[in-house]
């Protein structure tokens, strides 16, 4: 069968089960868009390519499928870069397609030429420059496999315009032959046994779940492990929603803006079972004094993460779901030999939990924490929550108690302002029947506000809750605490648009809330509305996120957030 490169590409994508592409057209991808016009694959036209990548990212996080985005050559391709880096740092399965100038023009600085495979080398799991149309089916097959297996990540495929147009004999992709790529799935039996022993013998054990639990959809297994062992659990920002946060054994998030309970528990535990997390500096604080008494069991699919930051005494390389299944069996067996009583430790943890809850001032003022808390209450912790970056993100993490796995969508590794709105678009496309809320900051949302057009045009009932403090709040907080209140370039008050009018200008619904008493009805109204909604919560301007760990100290040295 003879097809053009573009036809072979779309056929290959259909074979992969791709339902939606987030993208933006241009000269070098014209042939592909022409074929897409007749395909059953849905195309969501974003208003900036960065948001195509973020939307594909959000879609991937909530569905577990590979997110797909597309852009033209040159500026289209370079606009994808932030979104690709974001997916790489959070290990999100994504395949990004870019157009490229015609093969004979490559290397000549032709119109809209950018060496996007070169540019993205350090921020992709893998990338391809397609030289021959007949290779497309095989490359697409490989790309989807690489993106979604092992430690997931973004794969970029750069397709020159002449390759899209060329006629080729379409041959379905053959057997995958990737000699240099073989992810380890199952854990080593002896290591599993050792880990089970350590779990049963520990006196002060603690489980930390990371994003790997969500990527491998291992939340049921994680719950089983906690139920079986009754070991307290904390989840990192990336692991948030992997474990029901209303559960007794859940102690909140660790790290820079985590709970005192989680940070104290980490500092005093004698066994740390780390699953699918990578000991990021926002979690560990000063490395040399992190979990000083703990024997570390580190379960991760990426061998390069083992002992990278924290020395693992019992390393287990493998997929979180597969390893947890093995571990459950091993712990059951080991339990027959007897276990240590950890009641005293649980009590200690409960005391911390009671003594140091997350708090904020409950006065008549409209405070951002209250907005998040109310949102959680009204949605029963079951909405899909995306966040921007900054204080809004930390308040969302602290006060929205997720009770549904895979429902928290946040830029953890790269910390990308402007992620939440496009990610909500992707999440809503992936889960059309669920309530999707972007907990946003006024600064972040202005980086991507043009995507309101995308949401309205695609009839997506996403809710953008702006915690509008008129500041680049998180930066202002650091200036307040560490730079003598010198608010250098962080005041947004002048120039910030009227978000209600902005929403209306795009054909979305806009609601403004200035009083505490209006919060509940506004949230309910937004969620009920079939439209894209922006709620402008005009909150206390100089509220800070507490507790916090200043940089360079142990996570046990938290400041703020104590009951007076």
């Amino acid at each position: 069968m003879k097809l053009t490169g573009a036809e072979a590409l779309i056929k290959s994508l259909e074979k992969e089960g791709v339902e939606v592409i987030f993208g933006y057209p241009g000269g070098a991808v014209l042939p592909i868009y022409d074929v897409l016009y007749d395909s059953k694959i849905r195309h969501i036209l974003v208003r900036h390519e960065q948001c195509a990548a973020h939307a594909a990212d959000g879609y991937a996080r909530v569905t577990g499928k590979v997110g797909v985005c597309m852009a033209t050559s040159g500026p289209g391709a370079t606009n994808l870069v932030t979104g690709i880096a974001n997916a790489q740092l959070d290990s999100i399965p994504m395949v990004a397609f870019t157009g490229q100038v015609a093969t004979h023009m490559i290397g000549t600085d032709g119109f809209q030429e950018a060496d996007i495979t070169g540019i993205t080398l350090p921020i992709v799991k893998h990338n391809y420059l397609v030289k021959d149309a007949k290779d497309l089916p095989q490359i697409v097959r490989e790309a989807f496999y690489i993106a979604s297996s092992g430690r997931p990540g973004p794969v970029l495929i750069d397709i020159p315009a002449d390759v899209s147009k060329a006629q080729c004999v379409y041959r379905e992709s053959a057997q995958l032959n990737l000699a240099g790529y073989k992810p380890t799935i199952k854990g080593h039996a002896r290591q599993i046994k050792q880990a089970a022993k350590a779990i049963c013998q520990a006196e002060r054990p603690l489980i930390v779940g990371g994003g790997g639990i969500l990527r491998s959809r291992a939340w049921d297994e994680l719950q089983k492990l906690v139920r079986l062992t009754r070991i307290p659990i904390t989840t990192t920002l990336m692991g948030k929603s992997a474990y029901p946060e209303t559960d007794d054994l859940y102690i909140g998030m660790p790290g820079m803006h985590g709970t005192r309970c989680a940070n104290y528990a980490l500092t005093e535990c004698d066994l740390l079972v780390a699953i699918g997390m990578r000991f990021d500096d926002r979690v560990t604080g000063k490395l040399s004094v992190f979990a000083p008494e703990a024997l570390v069991v580190h379960i991760d699919i990426d061998p390069a993460e083992i002992s990278k930051n924290i020395k693992a005494r019992i390393p287990i390389v493998g997929d979180a779901k597969a390893v947890l299944k093995q571990l459950l069996v091993a712990v059951e067996k080991e339990k027959l030999e007897g276990t240590k009583d950890i009641e005293a430790w649980r009590e200690q943890i409960n005391n911390w939990k009671k003594k140091y809850p997350l708090i904020y001032k409950k006065d008549g003022k409209l405070r951002p924490e209250f907005v998040v808390e109310k949102t959680c209450e009204i949605t029963k912790g079951k909405a899909i929550i995306a966040t921007e970056v900054g204080q809004n993100q930390m308040w969302a993490a602290q006060f929205y108690k997720c009770t549904k796995p895979g429902s928290f969508v946040s830029s953890g590794g790269l910390g990308t302002m402007g992620f939440g709105l496009p990610a909500s678009i992707g999440a809503q496309v992936g889960k059309p029947d669920e309530v999707v809320i972007d907990i946003a900051g006024d600064g972040s949302v202005q980086m991507v506000s043009q995507e309101l057009a995308t949401a309205v045009a695609s009839k997506l009932p996403i809710n953008i809750f702006i915690l509008n403090n008129g500041y680049l709040g998180m930066v202002r907080q650091w200036q307040e605490l560490f730079y003598h209140c010198r608010y250098s370039s962080t005041d947004l008050a002048v120039g910030t648009p009227d978000f209600v009018k902005l929403a209306e200008a795009y054909g979305a619904k806009g609601i403004r809330v200035t009083k505490k008493s209006e919060v509940e009805s506004a949230i309910k109204e937004a969620i009920k509305s079939p439209k894209t909604v922006v709620v402008d919560f005009v909150v206390e301007r100089e509220e800070n996120v507490f507790p916090m760990v200043p940089s360079g100290v142990s996570i046990s040295e938290m400041i703020g957030g104590e009951i007076e």
């Binding site: 070169g118 080398l121 350090p122 893998h126 690489i146 990737l178 000699a179 061998p303 390069a304």
Partner: protein, 161 residues
């Protein structure tokens, strides 16, 4: 400490950039890098000499392993390895010192590959020590130009992994 890594990779465009980029990104200086096809034209072997503390080298090797185009990596044990390097040295050789230079060349079993009025170009093959030694011997005569291939290496004996 110096390590000699033998890295088997897909013989494809761009692979060198992926590997070199990874080293620089992770803060490693490459002392030398030599690359060429292997017995199977689908693959190339890179011999990379790096200076690094063992823990961070381990990290780089693990990161290298994650590259889809990397098949195998060996941190070669110097006692179990044959390593060679080829160097071309163009040295000042006026009539007054020419005989002395030729004598040095003979002692090192090197070759003279080009003769000009006032210079000799010498080809030396050997391990790092030998190459270094002849370079030092010739330096007083005035080395005008020098080019080296970088080390290539294989594990000894049957253990041709």
């Amino acid at each position: 400490m110096k390590h000699t890594l033998s890295v088997l990779v897909d013989n494809e465009p761009g692979v060198l950039a992926r590997i070199a980029g990874l080293f620089s990104r992770r803060g490693f200086n490459i002392d030398s890098l030599a690359v060429g096809r292997t017995e199977d034209s689908k693959y190339s072997r890179m011999t990379i000499v790096v200076d690094g503390e063992t823990h961070s080298l381990e990290q780089v090797m693990k990161q290298l392993h994650k590259l889809v185009n990397v098949l195998k990596i060996n941190d070669l044990d110097p006692r179990e390895t044959v390593g060679r390097e080829l160097v071309l040295i163009k040295v000042n050789a006026p009539p007054a010192t020419r005989a002395q230079i030729i004598e040095i060349v003979d002692i090192f079993r090197a070759n003279i590959v080009d003769v000009a009025k006032n210079t000799l170009t010498i080809e030396v093959t050997g391990d790092t020590n030998k190459v270094h030694a002849i370079e030092e011997m010739l330096r007083p005569y005035g080395v005008k130009e020098l080019a080296r291939t970088g080390k290539i290496a294989l594990a000894r004996g049957l253990k041709s992994e």
